[in-house]
């Protein structure tokens, strides 16, 4: 126990972050088991305020569906979209950024100019075009988000690599004959993870919301399947009279992002042996 108290895992950031993330993931994964049959339409129980009826602690929506059940069930789509799209764009973006930044030359020019073109296209235009061709589904939504977001990571990583490769420890590694692959993986990658982790945790939330705007436009997943973003969009019209319809999914997004942010900050700090970012 005393070893635990001294270890890097004994920190408010880590315990709170892990608790929030695991708690939410657990509720979402087991929502059908926790709320069997809940979330069905019941027009006799429309817009019940929260904390009024024990059967509906978060109240009900305009179609009489239980908000709590829908929040937990809706997390499944949102978490999938958030995590998979971010992990996918990080993998592509970091790899491209590392290679383009380290080797420079024609590969750098081609990749980064196409990244610029990509950034110049409005997201919605890109979404409409792609979904019109391949059709809307969960997989396609995730792919679309990856396509539109790997660029951020590529640019971030490339800029970091351009600065790092002029540092003397990289020059020292080159001088002693270390292979380029090892320089990239052992020297460059660990030194640029910090900002990537921060951008990742922010992007999870962003992507959960982007999925909802796609769904709202009819370009995302099937609108009958609940998702946090979709519920937020649905509740918008009732904000004056029934705040709970949109506030509870909003809180779910907030807590997820908070948990991930805490974990991300902790990860970044504990990866840095100098402890410079510690407060």
């Amino acid at each position: 126990m005393s070893a635990f108290l001294k270890s890097r895992y004994f920190s408010l950031e880590f315990i709170m972050g892990l608790g929030l993330t695991l708690g939410i993931t657990f509720c979402v994964l087991f929502s059908s088991w926790l709320f069997p049959g809940a979330g069905e339409i019941d027009l006799t129980a429309r817009l019940i305020a929260p904390f009024q009826q024990p059967a509906h602690p978060f109240g009900t929506d305009p179609l009489g569906r239980d908000v709590m059940a829908r929040v937990f069930a809706g997390g499944w789509i949102s978490l999938q979209v958030g995590f998979v799209s971010v992990v996918g764009s990080v993998l592509i973006g970091v790899a491209v950024g590392l290679v383009a930044g380290y080797y420079r030359g024609i590969w750098d020019v081609v990749v980064m100019r196409s990244a610029d073109i990509q950034l110049a296209l409005p997201f919605i235009l890109l979404a409409i075009t792609i979904i019109a061709i391949v059709g809307g589904s969960l997989t396609n939504t995730i792919l679309l988000l990856i396509v539109s977001q790997w660029v951020q990571y590529a640019r971030l990583v490339r800029a970091q690599v351009l600065a790092l490769r002029e540092r003397e420890f990289v020059l020292a590694a080159q001088a002693m004959g270390v292979k380029s692959r090892n320089i990239i993986l052992q020297h460059l990658l660990p030194n640029l993870l910090g900002p990537v982790i921060v951008l990742m945790t922010l992007n999870v939330a962003n992507n959960i919301l982007l999925e909802s705007s796609l769904t709202f436009l009819g370009l995302g997943v099937d609108p009958t399947i609940p998702s946090w973003g979709g519920m937020l969009a649905d509740g918008r019209t009732y904000l004056q009279t029934a705040w709970w319809v949109s506030v509870f999914p909003g809180l779910a997004i907030l807590l997820t992002v908070l948990g991930l942010n805490l974990l991300g900050d902790w990860l970044r700090d504990s990866l840095d042996p100098t402890g410079r970012t510690e407060r």
């Binding site: 420890f169 020059l171 020292a172 590694a173 002693m176 004959g177 270390v178 052992q186 042996p273 100098t274």
Partner: protein, 609 residues
């Protein structure tokens, strides 16, 4: 006491400063006499910079607390205790009564404003003059610090000036409001010796002209001997000795001062010696001075043997400007026609100012730059005819040590990992237990305990980090080590220890060194042979004795005359070294011709143009 108050401008009494729980300055007292220069000397971490920041009241903005004492300005006429002022009152004094110049002139100037605007801003703020008058005054100030073409300089931006010119602009800004006290924090450390000599001359002239007092913070005893009237020696946050500069140098009383002075390499100390000499060092062990090491003639060079490395007509150029279809129009001929040999067990030094191409040669040997002409042969085999595998083998047999030991170690890897990297890269050992035993041996070899292998670079001091870098260089069992300004970032006492370490390693392993440096005194102490570079060409090359005692080229003489002597009784004549190193951008077809060398005595080559 009363007497000193009449003539002193600033009186520091019992100053105690701490950052959080750690006390960085303990009970420091000294006086700054009117119109005189006080040098505050000590190694990094001794608290000398915090002292100057406390006088400027900038230390508390960075989180320091003043636990006691006073800093009184004008103790005789209008006493003001700087420590009791509010920050906005202190701001009135900063820049007007007390001004400061810093070590790094590039980072102290704002890159988006012209020089004229930046000087005028200070004048308009403190003297409330119009912009037109301020700009006229700026021109006058710039000519005061002897900047040629002051009228043109005020319209230029900081990046368009060289390091020495920027430091002069900083001095002009500092003296703009005729401060009574100028604090100079290592103002010449980042500059070449010839530029350093110019800056010291300018400071001395300005002091005579404006009658200001100077607090000069430095670790360089040569500079102290040259400029100081009074010396305050600091060690671990405390003043250990104080006195007139002649007394400090002639009869140092405190053991720390003695060890500091014994560590300073003196130019000319080796006159009459054929070989470099390893000499004992005075180091402090638990506060008591002790002699470490023995005197040994470093006769390791096997000059009769075939050269280990031979460089023939090496030229390296960097493309600067291209036309839109990629044709090169302007180049920087960084190195032109350099030829030299290094024999086993020999130390060859390349000396010259920044921009002379000495690092470029070193990097070309390391295959970090590719030569545009000429060839480099190792063990008799030219690099141009080597296979990829042979070139990779070269990266094992030649190792490079960089100037900044912190920058050249990966901050995210333990030092053990970094030392093992060359071993793993070249597949010298594959058993992890053997590798970690070897790391331990290497660390002990360079004077560190084997147990530090699991630590990270930031947990070491500068000197220890450079030892780690040396251990890493030794890990692949090289035959040639290139030390690129490997001593310049270190304190003198540490520097002397590392010099002795280099010499011991050379004796035991028969290593050859290519030693790149701008410090003539260190070069004289270490080298078997010396090559002097100017604008990418070797202007003089010969044995150490030939170059230092029968100097033949005017540029070498100029370099030697600029070196400050750590002896206040023999101050250097102000030689008025004017001018900067000329621009090195050349049009294609307008490259400088290769120098023609003649042999003035056996092995002593001098450029004749």
């Amino acid at each position: 006491m009363k007497d000193t108050h009449h003539t002193s401008l600033l009186s520091v009494q019992g100053l105690t400063v701490s950052f959080g729980a750690s006390q960085v300055i303990k009970d420091l007292s000294f006086e700054v006499p009117l119109g005189k220069t006080v040098a505050v000397v000590g190694e990094s971490g001794s608290g000398k910079s915090v002292t100057s920041l406390s006088i400027m009241r900038l230390a508390d903005l960075n989180g320091a607390t003043y636990d006691g004492g006073s800093i009184v300005l004008n103790p005789a006429t209008r006493p003001t205790d700087l420590l009791t002022l509010q920050q906005d009152e202190a701001r009135q004094i900063r820049g007007k009564d007390v001004a400061m110049i810093f070590q790094e002139p590039m980072t102290s100037l704002n890159p988006v404003y012209t020089i004229g605007d930046q000087i005028a801003e200070i004048l308009m703020l403190h003297e409330r003059v119009s912009r037109q008058d301020a700009l006229t005054e700026a021109v006058r100030l710039l000519s005061l610090v002897r900047l040629p073409d002051a009228q043109g300089v005020i319209n230029r931006y900081p990046h368009q000036l060289s390091g020495g010119m920027r430091q002069r602009v900083m001095i002009a800004m500092a003296v703009a409001c005729r401060p009574k006290l100028l604090i100079a924090d290592e103002p010449t450390t980042a500059l070449d010796v010839t530029i350093q000599a110019q800056i010291l001359d300018i400071l001395r002239d300005l002091q005579a002209e404006l009658g200001m007092s100077i607090i000069f913070i430095t670790h360089d005893m040569g500079v102290v001997a040259e400029i100081a009237d009074q010396v305050v020696v600091m060690w671990k946050g405390e003043k250990v000795e104080e006195g007139p500069v002649e007394t400090i140098f002639a009869t140092p009383r405190h053991p720390y001062t003695r060890s500091l002075l014994s560590a300073v390499p003196k130019l000319g100390a080796m006159t009459g010696q054929d070989y470099p000499l390893k000499s004992p060092l005075t180091v402090l062990v638990d506060g008591r001075p002790e002699q470490v090491g023995e005197t040994r003639v470093q006769d390791t060079a096997q000059m009769a043997a075939a050269p280990l490395l031979s460089v023939r007509d090496l030229s390296v150029r960097f493309d600067l400007k291209k036309t839109w279809y990629g044709k090169v129009t302007h180049v920087c001929p960084a190195v032109t026609g350099a030829s030299f040999d290094i024999h086993p067990g020999e130390t060859l030094s390349l000396v010259g100012e920044s921009g002379s191409g000495k690092s470029t040669i070193a990097r070309a040997i390391m295959q970090l730059n590719s030569p545009s002409a000429g060839d480099i042969a190792f063990d008799g085999k030219p690099m141009s005819r080597m296979s990829l595998a042979e070139r990779q083998k070269l990266r094992q047999e030649i190792q490079y040590i960089f100037q900044d030991p912190f920058a050249s170690l990966d901050p995210r890897k333990t030092v053990g990992w970094s030392i093992a990297e060359p071993i793993r890269t070249h597949g010298l050992m594959d058993n992890d237990r053997n590798i970690s035993r070897r790391i331990g041996e290497l660390l002990e070899r360079v004077g560190l305990p084997a147990s530090v292998a699991t630590r990270y670079p930031h947990q070491f001091s500068g000197g220890q980090r450079q030892r780690v870098c040396i251990a890493r260089a030794l890990a692949s069992k090289p035959r040639l080590i290139i030390a690129d300004e490997a001593l310049s970032a270190l304190d003198v006492s540490i520097q002397a220890q590392i010099i002795n370490l280099f010499m011991d390693l050379q004796k035991d392993d028969g290593l050859a060194y290519l030693f790149v440096s701008h410090d003539m005194a260190v070069v004289e102490k270490m080298s078997h042979r010396v090559a002097v570079l100017y604008l990418g060409q070797i202007v003089e090359m010969g044995s150490r004795r030939q170059v230092f005692e029968n100097t033949a080229h005017p540029y070498t003489r100029r370099l030697l005359s600029a070196v400050p002597h750590p002896d206040p009784t023999h101050r250097r004549e102000p030689v008025r070294l004017e001018g900067e190193v000329p621009s090195t951008t050349r049009r294609i077809g307008d490259e400088p011709p290769a120098a023609i060398h003649r042999e003035v005595s056996p092995g002593h080559m001098v450029a004749s143009n």
